[in-house]
Homo-oligomer: 424 residues x 4
Amino acid sequence: MAAGKGKVLLAYSGGLDTSTILAWLIDEGYDVVAFMADVGQEEDFEAARTKAMKCGAVGFILSDMRREFIEELIYPAVQANAIYEDVYLLGTSLARPVIARGMIAAAAQEGCQYVSHGCTGKGNDQVRFELGFYGLQPDIKIIAPWRIREFYERFAGRSALLEYAASKGINVTQSKAKPWSTDENLFHTSYEAGVLEDPNHTPPADMWKLIKAPEDAPEAGEKLVISFTKGIPTKVEVGSTGKTFTDAVDIFYTLNNLARLHAVGRVDIVENRFIGVKSRGCYETPAGTILRAAHIDLEGLTLDREVRRIRDAFITTKLSEQLYNGLFFSPEGKFVRSCIPESQKTVNGEVKVKLYKGNVIIEGRKSEEQLYDEKFSSMDELGGFEPEMTTGFIEVNAIRIKRFGVGQIAKGLGGSDIKAAYGL
Amino acid sequence: MAAGKGKVLLAYSGGLDTSTILAWLIDEGYDVVAFMADVGQEEDFEAARTKAMKCGAVGFILSDMRREFIEELIYPAVQANAIYEDVYLLGTSLARPVIARGMIAAAAQEGCQYVSHGCTGKGNDQVRFELGFYGLQPDIKIIAPWRIREFYERFAGRSALLEYAASKGINVTQSKAKPWSTDENLFHTSYEAGVLEDPNHTPPADMWKLIKAPEDAPEAGEKLVISFTKGIPTKVEVGSTGKTFTDAVDIFYTLNNLARLHAVGRVDIVENRFIGVKSRGCYETPAGTILRAAHIDLEGLTLDREVRRIRDAFITTKLSEQLYNGLFFSPEGKFVRSCIPESQKTVNGEVKVKLYKGNVIIEGRKSEEQLYDEKFSSMDELGGFEPEMTTGFIEVNAIRIKRFGVGQIAKGLGGSDIKAAYGL
Amino acid sequence: MAAGKGKVLLAYSGGLDTSTILAWLIDEGYDVVAFMADVGQEEDFEAARTKAMKCGAVGFILSDMRREFIEELIYPAVQANAIYEDVYLLGTSLARPVIARGMIAAAAQEGCQYVSHGCTGKGNDQVRFELGFYGLQPDIKIIAPWRIREFYERFAGRSALLEYAASKGINVTQSKAKPWSTDENLFHTSYEAGVLEDPNHTPPADMWKLIKAPEDAPEAGEKLVISFTKGIPTKVEVGSTGKTFTDAVDIFYTLNNLARLHAVGRVDIVENRFIGVKSRGCYETPAGTILRAAHIDLEGLTLDREVRRIRDAFITTKLSEQLYNGLFFSPEGKFVRSCIPESQKTVNGEVKVKLYKGNVIIEGRKSEEQLYDEKFSSMDELGGFEPEMTTGFIEVNAIRIKRFGVGQIAKGLGGSDIKAAYGL
Amino acid sequence: MAAGKGKVLLAYSGGLDTSTILAWLIDEGYDVVAFMADVGQEEDFEAARTKAMKCGAVGFILSDMRREFIEELIYPAVQANAIYEDVYLLGTSLARPVIARGMIAAAAQEGCQYVSHGCTGKGNDQVRFELGFYGLQPDIKIIAPWRIREFYERFAGRSALLEYAASKGINVTQSKAKPWSTDENLFHTSYEAGVLEDPNHTPPADMWKLIKAPEDAPEAGEKLVISFTKGIPTKVEVGSTGKTFTDAVDIFYTLNNLARLHAVGRVDIVENRFIGVKSRGCYETPAGTILRAAHIDLEGLTLDREVRRIRDAFITTKLSEQLYNGLFFSPEGKFVRSCIPESQKTVNGEVKVKLYKGNVIIEGRKSEEQLYDEKFSSMDELGGFEPEMTTGFIEVNAIRIKRFGVGQIAKGLGGSDIKAAYGL
């Protein structure tokens, strides 16, 4: 055993990989404090604590981050309609900043000079954790065993891990490994690797853990009314039970349960990782799927067109990339998030939603904001509108268009042949 | 009757409004040629011709634009993933350029100095038609009766229209008007106005004309394999029948029929019109909904990340706005469309899709392009990847992040309190 | 004389046009209050007051808006590096919001139901004023005589105006009209129309009113040190005199005087008006030109790269368009401006500037912010940098690039011929 | 001496660093071919050849890339108005793709398995070269000695280099090293490092090599007429001599010479490197500065407003970043460049430019394109314009603005106090 090298805070999951890392770090001469974040995953935290201590950890910290995860990460993402490459709702990405923050706080409290994690060298999570660590504490030291040749060559296959664990007395009587990897928190469950690495391999039916298949959802759908205040969900009324929820966490869990039952929120995507590799992932995002659809719908009624466009081009896109790439604790992350609240001041009102066998069906929406004016919008009455004004609007918008056409004609691209000017 | 003022080509639908306009233009001293575009709507074109001639038209032109609509408008929109305000697939917008082009060609052929249409003064279509006309023929003259005070005050209600029609011998024994307006073509059917102007009024079940309700779709779903070449759908294989389609029009109609059966493609939205009014619309877009989902999925496998990002920010957004606002025949429309082909050169491959009660479920995809490399992407083997390289990648990306953190700490925003720097 | 129609607040300049409008409005039956904004233009306000009252105005309001113009409009524009079409520093645009706000406040105070102005129907200013009026008071009524056929046909030429003025006893013994139009405020002077409408006509030397020609500037240049706090200029030290200025208005006027002397700030541009017409304008923007150059330079030292990029793409571009198009008092204007302060938190420091015969030469800059680290940036020492890290950075960035190359080669576009893949 | 490891193509400059690398590579067991690109730098290529061969190179290749540099890199950058962080015209960046392409071609011809260069580990050029190499030949192997610990520790200071060179008989009787680094090609000369690393250190007067100081430029300026065809400079007429140049290279060198004489093109900037480090650079870009100003000016007259805006946001920004970051041979580089030609189809015409002591003064421009219409743009005559149309344009644009105001008032933010809604 090597001499004392200092104290490491290790992101611990209780599984084979991080248990091995724990033991290996001790072998290498570090004192190790195991850290677990409760971000809503199904987990036997007590068993994990026992295992960590048995592995030789000098301490174990369990930090409940569920409320801050929902309030500080998920709800701002809902406000911004965050999405990655049109499909992925960023479930893993969103959890990383709260965990990184929890770890930096715990490292300070425990006097750790190092933080460590069990992320592989090809994935996004290593980047998200480490940029988060550096953003919060620029001088922190990081140990990433799966990028240390000595470690990754020694533990090149599962059998090497099992053998080492056995030699350390680490209990590995776990169920047979599934042919894919998974990450779980209250926002989503992800599946990747293993059989999923063939992008044409349809995910097996028994892979999906949380959300029912549309075929298995009940024939009776569910009706909800979701209220938003400044773009944040503040009330959910459930049609079938008549119950109402107003606490941020209660709202979220209620939607999660209903979406799971009604088969809402499964996706399958080939996405582009930050490190430039394409990767196939399957995700279950129950509540997030409902909230995004409802929030977008309410913005239709309550958000100005141009504010929306600028927000879409700038906040939605950039926030999503920043979350995916692990750039939450960065100057640009701070900047972009500072612009969200102003964009949401008018996003107040409620949306009627129906869940049915995988569908999130919008059935109506209302708001006290007055950006929509039924009378003025009406096609059946003038409602104060003077149609002649539109003539001016069109004529002025046509000025550029006409000049371009005149120019094309003058260049011989026009006449009866102006279509050529448009490559038609 | 006024003296001869010239010849007008009128966009004619066969309905009460455009029949009234036809007769009124004749009253005003114009010769009128009625023009109908076949863009795939269900319509008795022969009956419309008879009616137009009976109203006094000096000619009637029916132009079949279905193939050009699919090949020149819809498929480029599929390549670009065009969508308006996250929800609307632009079904009405997409038909307008082909109709405008058909009208300008017909006006030239018939020697018309004027074009006219029956669009109201509050909508988008007046803008789309007129900017299209001006783009293609800058000196064309436009008559928009619903923006002429004399006309819109005289025909302020439906009874005035009916009375006038009766006086002109125009057959109005049509079925009772529905409490909403509709526009139909092979890409979509839209519903707006009337009872839908209350945005909280759930669309009545009998409104939806083409696409079944999810509840009414068959329990047995349908599996498809859709092939794309340079981002354009070039083959569809239907699982249940084993049939294969390769013609652009056949592919489109096949997908339309299956999507309608399986309840795919209904949306309900409050959108922002070009003239600044918010408007509620319900849309049925069967084939378009499948194609967009499949195309986006295949891009995940075959399109470079950065090409995609630039394309999303620039082509997708701008093309969608241009289509919605009627700026297809514009310099910027021409410019943006010129950039699509290069973006799609690698979008070759096929996507497995399952339709089930409203869901479009992606089940896999494959491609000969090699942007995805299973071995290199694998989480289970190194496949030529050196994990240490990622350390460098992270460390270099962290340089900015750390400097910012150091600066914040120096300003007293950091230390144990660096969270304050991030407003947390 | 017509019956009393109400009270109008007229934006009055003291010139022939607005004096005519004043008298004409009275003819039309309105009571008119003349309003003048002091935004730093050279003007005999007392003479204007006398003239307005003699024309029949029921009141005259002079509002000194110089400080709010500088502090609330110009300095935020400096923070955002606002510029229109790469050249125009928005001098006229920036004054319009303060004037519109002053007028709406004065109209309320004077009990006016109407506001009026003398802008022509082809320009930007009509749009800027009127959208500003509507934004601040949606139910205000606007009278724009130059867009009223009765008015513009009656006063079609200068002689008609002169004749009418004479008939009303309005003093028109002004100096001979210059062959261009001008707008002046403390930020800039503009020249357009008249002989300048030929875009190839070089502006006559005697046109430029404020800023010397480079040829006429003194051989001895001037050195300045300009300090910024959160992106706002907070101190100017003048090398030649040793004087220091810290008041916002003093700083601005000092820079104006020096830039004028040293020939800084003339431009000549063909720009695109909001109404779609191209227009040639010549502008003198003395202080603004120095401040923009110095501010951009300091951002190089103190602003994070990614914050800058997002800010450039979003705030700079959008704010500039909004100002130009008169959309300051709009939801999107409010939104975009709300994002400026966070972007400027680190823009603290000072810039050394030399003025010399038209040139603004940056000679150095410094800051207490620590985003630039001399040692770490040094090419001559490692300063804590590990060069191997860059290998990882490059290799990971190359993953996408290599995959694309491999794919191109596989398609037969590569081998010795991969240049073909790049169209070379 | 090690055994034969293969053949390396080394980017050779003739200086101490690359001569040392050459000798070191031979020591390491490689055969080395020295490669020099003639991109217009002042250099004694024959002396360099002699030196390389004397160092032990097995071959020497000199490749004249001046024309392709101008035609394939610089002129597209002019078309796109490329610029980095508002100041830097990308002179070094632009040369890298032609050099990388030349090296890959030479490596193939010479049978080299490796390419090597003398770039340091903190700079941009290593990234630009290496990403270029990988883009053109994904399986090329790269040797970057300044990122190899063994090398950079051995040659940590200048004296170690000199000593080693002496031991190898390499002639180092060069002039005393300047206290900064420099890179030169026909587009620009750069200065960085050394005394310039203090960003507040004013560049010494004798640093600037090519471009005169404004104080030293002749009192008589120079007038030019520069013609562009599709955005590319195709003719220059020089006022003082009456000479005309039409060849791409002649045009460029003519402008270079005149700009140098008239003090045009010096800048000083703190910029953000790709690797996240801030860096101070001084640049002389003579012809490029004139061409950018003239091209932007002509676009004012000939380019549609919306095409310009999309081009600015997308092509200008992205191309500039790609060039700076070395992503020319990348899928996104290829994509962005494919969009340039359509954007420039109307950019035809000529610009009158005056050079005077550092100033590039635009004096007029003309074009056969008809996007500018003098009569229609005129402020003095209607020219076919109907002013009432603008009323409609304004009223329709005000619809959104008014609704927002009404909503703000309804929320108690308005009334006399609507300014509060705008945070004023």
